[in-house]
């Protein structure tokens, strides 16, 4: 069970969830709003999106050493471009008619952003969060398999050597239960709260 906890810790680590989430959202919005920023980063984005997770993980370990920080960074690096792409699409779909309301009534930037702009992005943020959580846990296992001496990924490599299918499935099931709990206790209620007006 301690492996589960270790993996969950890595999955839910603020640096993994928060930083790529927030910076990815900010850059995604920028790219959606400003053509020049989009032109500048578009190539890099495609590059990042298409680098195999295995490659970026191995490179992180080689460059930064077999450390926890390198592991966390590798996971974040894999999630980041997905957030950017999702939020860029969301920003392009923004309803300008509503922004015109804020403009005519001369509302300040803060109010315009938080009341008129950001709520239109909530569905996209939820997509990025949900797919992010799922993606991260897959990447975390590879990171653990390749360069950590604890966590589910590390355990699985041992069970693989022993061909111990039952243990592999047991670990998987345990982690699925943890993720289901995260969905039911946090993501689901948050989603329902911000979309309550749709009913």
């Amino acid at each position: 069970m301690s492996s589960d906890i270790k993996t969950a810790q890595r999955e839910l680590n603020g640096k993994v969830m928060g930083r790529p989430g927030i910076s990815g959202t900010a850059i995604g919005i920028f790219m959606g709003r400003r053509k020049r920023v989009d032109d500048l980063f578009d190539g890099w984005l495609i590059l990042l999106l298409n680098i195999p997770a295995l490659v970026s993980i191995v490179l992180c370990y080689v460059w930064f050493g077999l450390t926890e920080a390198a592991a966390i960074f590798a996971v974040a690096l894999n999630k980041f471009p997905n957030v950017v792409v999702t939020l860029r699409e969301g920003t392009r779909a923004i309803d300008r008619d509503l922004l015109q309301v804020a403009e005519v009534f001369r509302l300040d930037r803060r109010k315009t952003f938080f009341q008129f702009f950001l709520p239109q992005l909530y569905p996209y943020i939820m997509v990025a969060a949900r797919s992010g959580i799922a993606l991260i846990w897959k990447i975390v296992l590879v990171v653990e398999l390749l360069g950590r001496s604890n966590g589910i990924g590390f355990q699985i490599s041992i069970f693989f050597q022993l061909f111990d299918i039952a243990s592999i499935l047991a670990y998987t099931l345990a982690f699925v239960i943890v993720m289901l709990f995260v969905e039911l206790a946090f993501v689901g209620p948050m989603d329902r709260h911000i979309t309550r007006w749709r009913k």
Partner: protein
């Protein structure tokens, strides 16, 4: 600050063509002065650039050769403006109350004026409902409340009552006039319905087809309060159309009366 009076001069407003091709000229050589507290209706055929004109006045569209000047010397950005669009444009994730409050500054939002106005407009029971639960007519009433709550110095309305059934349209026009009488301000109201314009306005300005300019400027001297079904309104309309037959040609056949409007 008191209601705004403004001078509008638009030399030319064009939209660029696709891929830098020849564009479409929407407005050319349009001049118009609106004194304070006047209820001005702008009438023109569909697609003549009425909405474009409103967007220029509201400064949503600044890509124009021309000038909007406020006669009392007020800077463009300091005039308190409200705009009611063709669709209600309410924020679906805010309640009715929040939708009206959102255009107020923080102090004004707390002093209950939003709620008082909504109560006055018979929306007191829906304060905490989301807009998508309301009928089209009620959504427009909320949009009207949002437009009035800031006590604008200039109020723009762009065919705000289209695609409503007859009694609802009538009620909303009535409410607009009541609010305007209680809180006088300069109003520019766009419509393609001559009868609606005569019912509402102090003065009607007719626009030509695109590129639009003013082709007729007619004061409406009927006494207020007016009644939609008053024969005087119909008589005024007939008189206008007969006096300016060639000028207003094409307007009349689109004018089937305010209560049988369809969305364009």
């Amino acid at each position: 600050m008191s209601a705004a009076s403004l001078d509008i001069r638009i030399d030319r407003k064009a939209f660029a063509g696709v891929g830098g091709g020849v564009g479409r000229t929407a407005i050319e050589g349009l001049e118009l002065s609106v004194p304070a507290n006047q209820f001005l209706c702008i009438v023109g055929p569909s697609g003549c650039g009425k909405t474009t004109l409103m967007n220029v006045i509201a400064q949503l569209d600044r890509d124009v050769a021309g000038e909007i000047r406020y006669s009392n010397g007020a800077a463009l950005d300091s005039v308190r403006m409200a705009y009611m669009f063709q669709t209600p444009r309410l924020l679906p994730w805010l309640t009715v109350r929040e939708n009206v409050r959102v255009v107020l500054d923080d102090d004004a939002a707390k002093d209950g004026r939003a709620e008082a106005l909504l109560e006055h407009m018979e929306l007191g029971d829906t304060l905490d409902d989301f807009p998508n639960r309301l009928s089209g007519g009620m959504q427009r009433r909320v949009a009207l409340a949002r437009a009035f709550v800031t006590e604008p110095q200039l109020l723009l309305l762009d065919e705000p009552f289209v695609s409503l059934d007859a009694p609802v349209g009538k009620l909303l026009r009535q409410m607009l006039l009541d609010l305007w009488r209680a809180r006088p301000t300069t109003v520019i109201f766009v419509t393609h319905e001559l009868r609606e314009a005569i019912y509402l306005a102090d003065r009607i300005v007719f626009l030509s087809r695109a590129p639009s300019k003013v082709i007729l400027d007619a004061p409406v001297a009927l006494a207020r309060p007016r009644d939609v079904d008053d024969p005087a309104i119909e008589a005024f309309r007939q008189d206008l159309l007969e006096t300016h037959t060639s000028l207003l040609h094409g307007l009349a056949d689109e004018d089937a009366g305010p209560d049988s409007q369809t969305q364009h």
